[in-house]
Amino acid sequence: MKNQKRKLFAAFDVVIIVMVIVAAAFAFLSQFNTSDSDLTCVIRANGEVVHKVSLDNVSGSQIYTVHNVNVKISHECVSVSSSDCPDKLCENTGEISRGGQSIVCLPNKVSVTLVCEENAVDAVVG
């Protein structure tokens, strides 16, 4: 049978692993502007911005419902309090509180992102 002489770990594997690490590093660097002041919560459905809420303006907590996903926004953090999706991955993501973090509910096509105010350039709706 073919491939029987293949090694578990060969020289070229190092190249592949380094490539993956570089891709990951690139992704991390491009994404993190981790400030936790002046945060804005952007809620998108089908890729369109539906709500844009500055966390500084929120007192107590508010619930926004988009495509059967209830997004709970408070002064410090954002979470999905409930959703009708089968996998509940969005609920299990828990609270996010730093810029660049996000919650995605794939079955309902909803995403929730925290961005720092100065980077927020999308159109404002709602």
Binding site: K2, R6, L8, F9, F12, D13, A27, R44, D87
Partner: protein, 169 residues
Amino acid sequence: MKKNTMNITRTALLSAVALVLSYIEMMLPDMPFVLPGMKLGLSNIATMFALSSVSLPSALVVCLTKAIFALLMRGFTAFLMSLCGGILSTLAMYLLLKFNRVGYIGIGVMGAFCHNLGQIFVAYVYTDSTVFAYFGVLALASIVTGSVTAFAVYILLPKVLKSELYKST
């Protein structure tokens, strides 16, 4: 027995193995320190097996079976993600298997990485660029999960190739 019949049998068995591995994985609790929904990708073992012991079409059939299982268990989104990730990772591993200087770990890591890539692409089409926030963590995780599957294949492949299932051709 005819070679073709043997290969169909092998593909069917590996598909069944893939389903069992998927199911075991579903029963595992979410790892608390990583992203919710992230998985080990154990069923990649079956795909890698089909690829290195049968053929490319066989591995693609295993992917399709996995995707249909995901459709039944977790819905249409899961089906698309499983299929897209599976096909991309199978093609990547198929290309790497042509080179003798690549080890199992390299193939496994590349397969896991491409699986994530395909899934993120489907998620991106479904929602928006927010999902790329997951990319970094998933890429790093694919080094670990890919190595685990590669190790399993490395240990098991020589033993299975000696078994009754592969004797006749």
